[in-house]
Symmetry: C2
Subunit: 489 residues, 2 copies
């Protein structure tokens, strides 16, 4: 935590003006340099009521080039926000590469107030702070620059500030009843905030506590610190940190794929009966989940030509089309490339009582991106933790997660590729890329094994499906899915 | 309206299979060709309950390459949808260029059911149908291909279909109580649907009524018509139609800009008092609007260096940051280029009780895009109607619209350009482009006059603000804005 020095002590008004003009010019240069370097910047404005947070936000908007800035103020959660995990709205507010997001109110505001008002206990508050720290760490790891300003006023100064504002008929409206209520809880508020600030104060994104008694000094202070950090960020452009899993190479990873019995099969007659029975069962369960507002996320991964598409159709045929959405995932493009790799998946999270089916998913990070080298070693290695953390947030919001790997043998894949090339309307499904991927079978196999090993958690385990017999696979997927729903209902 | 011929009458089962396989291959080719040609395709699936709409949607998903298809099913409106004008959710579902959207339920479903249940009168139903027609016309004008399928069953066939489904324990769940209720209203439903179909049946997007008694024939029928229309669309690629305003060249357009008294000014002392008074007034009004859930949209347009940015800051300084969002509009990019030009503005419409401030706006279509030739003559000429229609929908949703043109003289602009080049932190605001635009002053002037003439409507008139004196302009904007709110509250 940096306590700002009391700058500008002996400068005259005129000198101050010159200094500020220079700083503003530097600030704009730094903003343009960050845009050029595609570094996303987050500025968090927090602090004591009456300290002038709103004015500071206005000022930041004036100083920066507004074409590169989005300001997000967070109020009580909207219905659409309530239907998603807590961080959904913060993911929506994350700046794209090279852009600036000013957060007025942030992931700190709610937890601190809830603790002050005794709505959360000590333990839960600690856990919330850990979640914040891990969220910020993930962003810093991805190259985000985060500046956190805390505007401070003493109890006495706060009372004076609120009174002055109330006495002036033109700013009277700025003081809300809740401001006085918070004032009466000043000591609790400071104690809780101190705990929050000290536990979320890493080197990458330290808190900057700014004395706010003098508005002008407060602004100069923020301006100076902002400029310096931005200039530093352009110079360093530290995109990657050490990988989280240092034991990665030492642990012996078991081969889960080898355990799958690819000879599993089902008779045609049994198949027809089983599919309709399971579909009817699934239909009832999905409606029941809808009524209870339980959301679900399905992840379908598997080898090329393993039958993901036709398996998904057997699932969706059983579900009212208004209750689910299928999201096919290909290489990221346009807006997606401008954001953190998890961003596009957060966007697609289902509303309360709905289902999203991902045809391929965030696991691309540790599969194709790893094998093809689109992600650096550090990036895919830390992705296991990031993914587990992401899924933990969904589970914490009482979402159901079903993860399926559709497994086939290398020989079966070859046979299917050849067959596809013979049927006119399936020919488009076989591309050069599929043949190329096939050559890296062993590398993919290793990645799948490590993925299963590192991301099979108690509430979101991987289901490995024997897919050499398509019909067997479809019935397995339907059955497994039904039991996931049944367990939760 | 096309009544499908009773195809495949005399083909054997085997012949049919061959024919279907051929059609599927052709369909995929057509889809890829449309993607190549960047033509967006909308497939609407409507019709009688029990006719197999859901199955058809599943089938379409199977036939088409799913990586280019989004299926949208519309249920009761979500809270976020309720807070926006009616078509907001359909804009969100519009396909990007080269993509396919399958709409299961569409802008037809609600209006037809409401009419059948007597919730809307004849007149309002007519108006709704006109709105639908104008929405589809706008899309066709922009190069969209729309296919509208209506699956038909006779009353008797419907009863049989529903009974058969109920009797089969495996499809029993597909029949909902509302299906029987609709069945009892069959005649009303058909009568109302007929009216809807005949009044929204233009050459560009005709209805295709498909007999659905035999599922196989129905599917072949749809497949055939789909393929043929898609192939035709690739050939024609008709992007523009005749402009709507044919009298465009004949009408004498009055010069509104010439009427603005650019000598208007305000004393410094009066200015300070006026700004704070108006800001306090605006603050109260915006809070009051928030409480009444009245949303508002502000449009700021004007010459380069007219002072839009600083005027916006005077407005936002008065408003709680949680109640507004500023959206700066530049040339469209990425995802925006893939859509209709109005798409990105629909996305930004405020929630209930909130305000969106557009720093430049959809009027770019008839200003910069017209002058620089980014839009064809047909495109900008029909844009007046499209924009009026868009704003009418906002007004119909009880939103407030404030449109401001900030006017300055050519000399004043020159003086400001020069001054900006002298101040380090303002230098970035002057670019080559500004100097280039300045050379086309007369062309822009003509465009502004025509814009004011054609899009000043009773509830959303243009406010021309004298901007040579910045302070006068700011006070004017604040006052006008306040009176817009006051009138509505």
């Amino acid at each position: 935590m940096t306590m700002a020095p009391d700058v500008n002590r002996k400068l005259s008004r005129a000198e101050l003006d010159v200094q500020r003009a220079e700083l503003r010019a530097r600030l704009l240069d730094a903003q343009f340099a960050l845009r050029e370097a595609r570094v996303p910047l987050i500025i968090i404005v927090s602090g004591v009521d009456g300290a002038g947070k709103g004015e500071l936000v206005h000022r930041l908007n004036e100083w920066l080039d507004p074409r590169g800035v989005d300001t997000h103020a967070f109020m009580a959660k909207s219905p659409e926000e309530l239907e998603r995990p807590r961080y959904w709205r913060y993911w929506r507010a994350l700046p794209a590469k090279g852009r600036v997001a000013i957060l007025f109110g942030s992931w700190y505001t709610g937890p601190i107030l809830q603790r002050v008002y005794g709505e959360t206990g000590k333990k839960r508050f600690r856990r919330t702070l850990e979640r914040i720290a891990s969220h910020e760490r993930m962003l810093c790891d991805d190259g985000f620059v985060i500046l956190k300003f805390w505007l401070h006023l003493s109890r006495k100064a706060q009372r004076k500030r609120l009174r002055d504002m109330e006495d002036n008929p033109l700013s009277h409206w700025r003081v809300l009843p809740q401001d006085w209520e918070h004032h009466s809880l000043y000591d609790d508020f400071i104690k809780t905030s101190k705990l929050a600030l000290t536990t979320t104060d890493p080197q990458d994104a330290p808190w900057r506590v700014i004395p706010a008694t003098s508005r002008a000094k407060c602004e100069s202070n923020v301006l100076l610190q902002l400029v310096e950090r931005m200039e530093e960020a352009v110079k360093i452009r530290k995109y990657v940190t050490a990988p989280r899993i240092t034991e990665g190479k030492r642990v012996k990873i078991p081969s889960s794929l080898a355990q799958v019995n690819l000879d599993s099969t089902i008779e045609d007659g049994d198949y027809r009966k089983a599919v309709t029975t399971q579909q009817a069962r699934l239909n009832r369960l999905v409606w029941a989940a809808h009524q209870k507002k339980i959301s679900s996320v399905l992840v379908l991964e598997g080898w090329d030509a393993a039958g993901k598409g036709s398996a998904i159709r057997r699932v969706t045929a059983a579900i009212d089309p208004r209750l689910y959405r299928t999201v096919p995932i290909a290489a990221p493009k346009n807006e997606e490339l401008e954001h953190h790799y998890l961003w596009r998946f957060w966007r697609e999270l289902p509303r309360a009582g709905m289902m999203t089916i991902f045809d391929r998913s965030w696991y691309g990070r540790v599969l194709v991106e790893r094998v093809e080298g689109f992600a650096s070693t550090e990036e895919w290695q830390r992705a296991y933790d990031e993914i587990n953390d992401f899924e933990a947030q969904l589970l914490g919001h009482d979402m159901l997660i079903g993860k399926f790997w559709l497994h086939i043998s290398k020989e079966e894949q070859l046979a299917r590729f050849k067959k596809r090339e013979e049927i006119a309307y399936k020919r488009h499904k076989i591309t050069e890329e599929d043949w190329r991927n096939r050559k890296r079978w062993n590398a993919y196999e290793k990645s799948v094994d490590e993925m299963v090993f590192r991301t099979s958690t108690a509430d979101a385990p991987w289901n490995l499906i024997a897919g050499n017999n398509k019909k067997f696979a479809r019935v397995q997927i339907l059955k497994t899915l039904c039991s996931i729903f049944e367990k939760a209902l």
